[in-house]
Symmetry: C2
Subunit: 658 residues, 2 copies
């Protein structure tokens, strides 16, 4: 079994690779803090780069987990930077993957985030201003799939559900991960929907997945280095094709192999390359158990035409390890949402900046020593918000103020309390002992909510919760760019509101978002935020689906025995709804709404309570382009940041196999 929880600690690793590490020395600072600093400075560096506006699509997406002490089960931070050139039709800022939290699929930005259909005018524009973006030469190489104008796609053969323990290789579609034995040729196939220009090649380049190491070039361990006479002596990945070229980037030191790309032979759909990995993931003094990905870029003259990324694990027992990781992942998926005592929180920031003009931030990096994890985490999130705020334009701030004022007025009109359900059976199950029947402003509201999770009747009145009027309710579920001005010291209270009030607040959310095709997803987000901030009058699935415009799926939920939205905690949309015919749009909408329901509390004033809450997660976002319409702009350079952090806590007394 192989998981990704275990990583070499920094100090021991530094000793191990002291001879080969060519990464910067800033890893000696406290890991987590430094991680973010490094990550952050990278982002800043990229956006400050003068080439930024000419980059067609340069997303950066990281997924890592640290903070491994204590109860923390998972902590993923995805940072995505995407620069998009908008044409006259406008390219909608797709946020359909916004709430994606699986760590094994972190890089799946939607294909339609690419600059338009093949052979459109954008492709010309792109090719006429080709920046030197060869994957190997970038300090922070992108690991985001991008089929590009030529429909570049990777293929690893017919999907298999399992493999013998020691097969030479096996691909897990679920994990999007290749498990491959060392020194075994592995056929990797590619195709393009259109034939790229002559001289196009595919570059295969391994990168470390975790931000601590992403700057370090992946190379073979000393044990497995080839003879100096071989061009590929230090390359992890070799290609059976003798004409393959082995590059070592002079500045980044990255080792990659470039293989001529030709369209598939007649009768075949794909072009196959036999690749060999020359080190184990576990190789001491080399990969050293650090997860890697392999970035395949379709390139021509250094210009990236497409990109496909897969995780790769080079190990002695690909079948065994695949099984282990898939099981691990399934356990994660299945059990975490069910865990009463487990808390998960996801925060996500998305910042879109129109144009490249913005004052250059202070690039000096400071180190803040913080004692205690709770304080540290709190400070980190504040820090993130503060730093991200610098990317919010004045227009966005103004817009936020307006929205804020309007919303507060609406909320003030709501009654603070109404009635409390007398049904004692609602407090059955795993509800904590201290479950006061009357709601107050005290912080244990999530415990109370946990006590209601198992209700299977349809109460006429039930809980709803929203923030107190004097705090910024949009702080973690913003529906506009102004959400950056948030108050992290926010407190939640629980209110019971009537159905009328619910619908009005939903309307409010709907109203605050512009309609129209380009802002559709944006509006969707606003609607989702509304459902969690202003609760439905009853917690029946029917009402909830109705509020989402998804009544047609009521039967499906009922068949699964789900009658109240409190039961939604037990759902796994990807799994439970995998076989159900449903437009992707709806699927995403439902998934987002469920996530919102699960994560009503993002931050409380007492950070330690994060470890005790029944279920908390949060998604904060900064949607850009809110003030834009297609008629307003002819061509826009847009930069989108997405920073998503998911943290999970494991409650001690619960066993893994509950």
């Amino acid at each position: 079994m192989s998981g990704d929880q275990k990583q070499p600690n920094c100090s021991s690793f530094e000793r191990n690779i002291s001879q080969t590490s060519d990464a910067g020395g800033n890893l000696s600072q406290p890991l987590s803090d430094d991680t973010f600093s490094m990550l952050w400075s990278q982002l800043v560096g990229v956006t400050d780069n003068g080439n930024i506006n000419s980059v067609c699509a340069n997303p950066v997406d990281w997924n890592f987990s640290e903070f491994q002490g204590g109860d923390l089960v998972e902590n993923n931070v995805d940072v995505s930077l995407q620069q998009i050139e908008l044409g006259p039709q406008g390219v909608p800022l797709d946020i359909s993957n916004f709430t994606q939290t699986q760590s094994f699929q972190p890089n799946m930005l939607p294909d339609n985030a690419a600059p338009g259909p093949p052979m459109s005018e954008y492709s010309t524009d792109t090719t006429t201003t080709p920046p030197p973006t060869s994957a190997a030469s970038q300090a922070l190489p992108s690991n985001v799939d991008y089929t590009g104008d030529y429909g570049f796609e990777i293929y690893l053969g017919q999907p298999t559900s399992t493999a013998a323990k020691s097969v030479s290789w096996t691909f897990s579609p679920t994990l999007k991960k290749l498990f491959v034995d060392k020194d075994k040729a592995c056929p990797i196939m590619f195709k393009t929907s259109l034939e790229p220009p002559p001289g196009t090649y595919i570059r295969a380049m391994p990168i470390f997945k975790k931000p601590e190491y992403v700057q370090e070039a992946v190379r073979r361990c000393p044990n497995h280095q080839g003879p100096p006479s071989e061009r590929s002596a230090h390359h992890l990945i070799t290609c059976s094709d003798p004409s393959a070229l082995y590059d070592e980037d002079t500045t980044t030191g990255r080792m990659s192999v470039a293989m001529a790309y030709n369209m598939p032979q007649v009768g075949t759909e794909h072009t196959t390359y036999l690749l060999t990995f020359k080190c184990f993931l576990s190789c001491v003094g080399g990969l050293n158990r650090r997860q890697i990905q392999t970035v395949f870029t379709l390139e021509n003259s250094g210009q990236v035409l497409g990109r496909q990324v897969i995780d790769v694990r080079v190990c002695a027992c690909p079948g065994r390890d695949r099984k282990g990781e898939e099981k691990h992942q399934t356990e994660k998926q299945n059990k975490k949402p069910l865990k009463r005592g487990q808390s998960k929180m996801t925060q996500s920031f998305s910042v879109t900046q129109i144009g490249g003009k913005r004052k250059k931030p202070d690039e000096e990096v400071y180190c803040i020593m913080v004692k205690g994890r709770a304080n540290y985490e709190l400070l980190m999130r504040i820090k993130e918000s503060l730093e991200l705020m610098s990317y919010v334009t004045q227009d966005q701030r103004n817009q936020h103020k307006t929205d804020q004022t309007r919303l507060q007025q609406q909320i003030h009109n709501m009654p603070r309390f109404s009635s409390f359900p007398s049904n004692a059976s609602q407090q059955q199950g795993a509800s904590p002992p201290n479950n006061p029947p009357l709601l107050t402003n005290q912080p244990s509201i999530t415990s109370q909510m946990a006590g209601l999770h198992r209700q299977d009747t349809l109460p006429l009145h039930t809980f709803a919760r929203h923030q107190t009027p004097n705090t910024n309710h949009v702080h973690d579920h913003c529906d506009g760019p102004s959400a950056m001005e948030v108050d992290h010291q926010v407190k939640f209270t629980e209110d019971v509101v009537s159905s009328q009030e619910i619908s009005s607040s939903q309307m409010l959310a709907g109203q605050s978002s512009p309609s129209g095709q380009r802002s559709e997803d944006h509006a969707g987000l606003g609607q989702v935020a509304g459902t969690s901030q202003v609760s439905p009058v009853d917690r029946s699935i029917g009402s909830w689906l109705g509020s989402l415009g998804c009544q047609q799926y009521l039967d499906i939920f009922n068949k699964k025995g789900i009658r109240t939205i409190d039961q939604l905690d037990e759902i796994n949309l990807e799994q439970d709804f995998a076989g159900i015919a449903m437009p992707q749009q709806h699927r995403e909408k439902l998934w987002k709404a469920i996530l919102q329901l699960r994560n009503p509390i993002f931050l409380t004033s007492t950070p330690s309570s994060l470890l005790r809450t029944g279920s908390n997660a949060s998604t904060a976002s900064l949607g850009g382009l809110s003030g834009l319409s297609a008629s307003q702009v002819q061509r826009i350079q847009a930069t989108r940041f997405t920073l998503k952090q998911t943290m999970s806590f494991q409650v001690k007394e619960e066993k893994e196999d509950t």
Copy 2:
């Protein structure tokens, strides 16, 4: 837990260390065959060396286990080559360690095999003709303890019985093995009883323990190599003393560190060195899980004054691994002799050659491909005998012929059959189903013997077995150098003989060996051989002890419930008799006799039956110097070969924890 069963297979290892291996390429031949060839050619090479007669003591002792497939549990071959200079007093060829079979103590040749007391005339003799015998410069370095004229001894602190899992180091006196963490300074102490000449130093040199690798220099794996600026960059062992010198022998490539030796500080008994091991035993591309020993030689001007050898395991958890290996060893000791279905055989050859004159054997090495383990093992033993035969002198051959003739005459006088015990209960227990009541010449006799093991009554008549007259009965239990002329295709039959016949045959054995101090051990061996070749009339312990002249221990056996010699299978002399006051001489005599009883069948015509026999082991020996007396020689150069092979087979249906 760490055992020594697991070894890298040859091919994978070759690939792993292809960059660093500087050993000969003959490892590509079949491992086992090649192992012996290599080993053998080494022996031949050493003895053919012109320097042989001037070498004071140059024993070679190997212990390894291969043949790991099938039921084989253990296979140790110890080869010892000792060249001894005999003074006027004569130095008896001590064979007190002859039956030692523990693989963890293979190198403990007796200290009195050294050339006499300190400051004797030999020391002068030795120092006036100093050969270049620095441990590092020898292709096949000795790993035999030798305190030498100065009483050189190693000390690893107060013995401990156990240690915490991850202590930086711990020494197991039982295993004579140091378990030490990588990169942790380990204090190793030495003392001498006399102060050696100025300029004396201690050389620490690691060697591989197994003959497959013993020629290869031990060096760090590429991962753990130091910077080229360090003299010790490739040395496994480093010393904290900056004045230590790091040698790399130009011809052998061996890496060693030489540390100045000074007598202990006043008030201390030992001189301490802080040594550090820079690679794990498991290091890929380096030690690669190959067991090592460290040879500490007290040297002066390249001359070896003393030698101390310990096994070393560099690992991350010294305490854990020590516990594991000690447990493993205890299990081996305790359980193997008890196992009914397990068979163990030990063969041991000892060849002593007087003087250095002997025709140079053909040094060409050929490879015989053999299909099937049984055939292979059979052929290997034959090969060994044949090759060892070339060391037998003509005098020895003549002596053998004489003995042979005399013995055959005696045997012909014995009745072939008498009666068969009617006690059906003798066939209880683990006896195989096909257990014919009447004895014939068929080959399944060992099965029948197994059926008799559990008898706990004292039958008036019981089995005895010896070889048919037309075969050479001394083939595996020789009592003289002529034993080399053996017939390995020998067959055994079972006879029942009377007690009178037993004692007569014992007398025979006794008569054939000369009396006197110098040949005492020789005589003892002959007696032992006699007890197994001509069986006692009854199988009671009393009779057996009486025949050995050890009646005084009858009570001890009875207290342990042992009443027949068949029960001796269940005894472990070293353990069961550890606390019993008994002269070492008697202990050895008993032990040898028990071994003989256990191993009546050494070779059968059906090799596969080796895997099925209840208990078989054998000791063959070639005692040298049989014709010598102290008065005949003033000074003698003697060379003694000892080749001992121990093989154990595990029967499938028996569990380890029976």
